[in-house]
């Protein structure tokens, strides 16, 4: 059955579904059962399932990540939630030294069915320590699955699939996506899906992560007025990476931009660009372009923050350069401005 819901509602609904189905599933983390409920994404859970299956924690990300791993390898299926991805760095020893490798060093004897959810912050001055996405960092370690759902359907399906997965899965959710509305079909396949084409086109393939999909779709609308059709692909799952759909698309368009919601240096965009350069060498008419964060810490003040983040305008200008087109006048276009929906503070 399909129902219209926001991304945050999709997360709460998906979580409740899995908790209903499987009593081994529990959700915990700082602020999880408080009155704000992680921006509403854990709404209704403590009332329905009680404080044994939905609880808060001390401010101890390192130990709590270890506790989650210990519970997972003891047969439970924890979902550990963080209101900012940046806080996961406090649990990095457990993530990088234990979660990623314990199955391997146990010779396959152990399973770690653990889900880590974390919110990527942006805007209203989130600044250097509330804005990281970190998917490239987590994906760097073998043994961890990393997903970035963009639509409510994917938020719902990804969370449910991650809970059912016998491996550690990190889900990174952009704060601004929480307000996005969309149809959620609860009969759709529950899977950690590979890339999806969000918009068909033949001019340039734009491969995106997370919020960059929204920017790319806007850029596609603007460029369509000039007869340029972008093919927008949401990569969805960073690891395990299945780039076949992207290869197929780039072989058709001959041009590709990787628009990653992260820094470029040593990041996912570099990985994908390298793979495409290899696999599409014969069909690429130009080098793969990469768009991402400016190579600086995220600044707080709005004018600099605007420069820090990649946007639809960056995508449009890159497409123009690739196709040797003059710069279009964008003064009449309306681009996403978060003040219309998101007034902070967090």
């Amino acid at each position: 059955m399909k129902s219209l819901m926001t991304y945050r509602e999709a997360l709460a609904t998906g979580m409740a579904k899995e908790m209903d189905i499987d009593t081994r599933v529990f959700v915990f983390g700082l602020d999880v059962p408080d009155h704000k409920r992680i921006f509403g994404s854990t709404k209704g859970l403590v009332e329905k399932f009680g404080s044994e299956r939905c609880f808060g924690t001390p401010l101890s990300e390192d130990a709590m990540t270890g506790v989650a791993i210990g519970a997972a390898l003891s047969g439970l299926r924890p979902v550990h939630v963080h209101i900012r991805a940046d806080f996961l760095l406090l649990g990095m020893n457990q993530i990088a030294n234990v979660m990623s490798s314990l199955r391997y060093t146990s010779g396959g004897a152990l399973k770690i069915p653990l889900v880590i959810r974390a919110v990527i912050g942006r805007g209203w001055g989130q600044g250097a320590q509330h804005s990281k996405s970190l998917h490239g960092v987590f994906a760097h370690f073998p043994g961890i699955k990393v997903v970035l759902p963009t639509t409510p359907q994917d938020a719902y399906g990804t969370l449910r699939a991650a809970i059912r997965d016998d491996n550690p899965v990190v889900i990174l959710e952009h704060r601004w996506l929480y307000d996005i509305e969309g149809d959620v079909d609860d009969e759709a396949d529950i899977a950690l899906s590979g890339p999806a084409i969000l918009r068909k086109g033949q001019s340039v393939t734009v491969v995106c992560t997370s919020w960059m999909n929204i920017e790319a779709l806007k850029a596609a609308d603007v460029l369509a007025k000039r007869g340029i059709e972008l093919e927008v692909i949401d990569i969805r799952t960073i690891t395990p990476l299945d780039e076949r759909l992207v290869v197929e698309s780039v072989n058709r368009t001959g041009r590709c931009i990787v628009a990653d919601y992260d820094w470029l240096f040593c990041g996912f965009a570099a990985e994908l660009a390298a793979r495409l350069s290899h696999r599409c060498f014969a069909t690429l008419q130009q080098p793969v372009e990469r768009i991402g964060f400016a190579p600086v810490p995220c600044p707080t003040t709005r004018p600099l923050e605007n420069l820090f983040y990649p946007s639809a305008v960056n995508i449009i200008r890159t497409v123009e350069r690739m196709l040797e087109l003059p710069h279009a006048d964008l003064s009449q276009e309306t681009f996403y401005s978060y003040e219309q929906r998101f007034k902070g503070p967090f």
Partner: protein, 320 residues
């Protein structure tokens, strides 16, 4: 009190651990065991004694100084040596080596090469037991260096907050690699600090196996009675260097014991002296050593003869 049969069984186990590590010292120079070894000679009574008191299905967690723990819960010298020799027949298929030994089927869930890392895992296992209304305790072993890690305090706090059935076992040799406790701590007493937490804290002589067993039994019943974690602080003397097979008294950071001083802190010698006093002949006790050495030699021979993992194994067991 330990029965005579129990004493003999424990002596066998203690001696098995000692002779296994002595065998590592003998064979290490052939360079076939390519894995850093953190030998626990002097500390064997802690794992052997504590594990003797745990229910069979209890989960245990340890450190890189884990040989005694592994042998105490598995009694498996074949798998042990296969793993140290990097062979396919090891419990980690050669991917674990000495520092990551585990045997979940025997309750030994994880050991780690990073200090304090398995402490929260054990708390998670205890949380899982509480979640399932299972009253089986979990035990986690760590050195005195681990209590300087933030995650130790985070873990103790959470375990006490949730009144988990977990036994924290601090194997205190007074050294973090080469640094003495007095060079590392800005507080007077670890025990005093821990007494501020809602857990039972007991110190005992970790070099004496009957003492370890008694302290553990008392602690486990206190934990059940009070419904709160236990912290068992057991001191011992680490005979060898931090990592490797040698004595390192010449390095100057500590002095070596005289033969008489070593007898006072050697758990094997202490239990042997007790058994002798109870009337066991030295011939009977020697026979135990001989049978253990035969078994170890056979395990080493099997490990040497075993196959290395095939090349496909490199990519196996990353994901389930």
């Amino acid at each position: 009190m330990l029965s005579t049969d129990e004493r003999i069984a424990l002596y066998r186990k203690l001696l098995l651990v000692r002779q296994v590590e002595e065998a590592i010292r003998t064979h290490y120079a052939s360079d076939d065991m390519k894995t850093p070894v953190h030998l626990g000679i002097g500390g064997e009574a802690i794992s052997v004694g504590v594990c003797h008191c745990l229910p069979a299905k209890a989960s245990t967690f340890g450190t890189y100084r884990n040989h005694a723990l592994y042998l105490a819960v598995t009694d498996d010298t074949d798998g042990f040596f296969a793993e140290l020799f990097g062979k396919e027949s090891g419990p980690g298929k050669g991917k674990a080596g000495s520092m990551h030994l585990c045997r979940p089927d025997c309750g030994l869930m994880a050991t780690s090469a990073v200090v304090a890392t398995t402490i929260p895992l054990a708390v998670g296992a205890a949380l899982a037991n509480a979640y399932r209304k299972d009253s089986t305790p979990v035990a986690v072993f760590f050195g005195d260096g681990a209590v300087e890690e933030g995650v130790f305090w985070e873990s103790v706090n959470f375990a006490c907050l949730h009144r988990l059935n977990i036994l924290f076992v601090c194997e205190d040799n007074g050294l973090a690699i080469h640094a003495h406790a007095s060079e590392r701590r800005g507080y007077r007493s670890l025990i005093e600090v821990l007494q501020g937490f809602r857990c039972t804290v007991v110190s005992a002589d970790g070099s004496d196996l009957p003492t370890v067993v008694q302290a553990t039994r008392n602690m486990l019943s206190r934990m059940t009675q009070d419904r709160q974690p236990g912290f068992l602080h057991l001191s011992y003397f680490r005979l060898l260097e931090h990592v490797g097979i040698q004595e390192d008294f010449a390095a100057g950071y500590r002095s070596g014991p005289s033969p008489e001083e070593w007898r006072q802190v050697d758990p094997v010698e202490r239990l042997r002296a007790e058994l002798s006093a109870e009337g066991y002949s030295s011939r009977d006790l020697e026979a135990i050593i001989t049978s253990i050495d035969v078994r170890i030699a056979a395990s080493i021979a099997r490990a040497r003869a075993a196959a290395y993992p095939p090349i496909d194994a490199l990519y196996e067991d990353v994901l389930a």
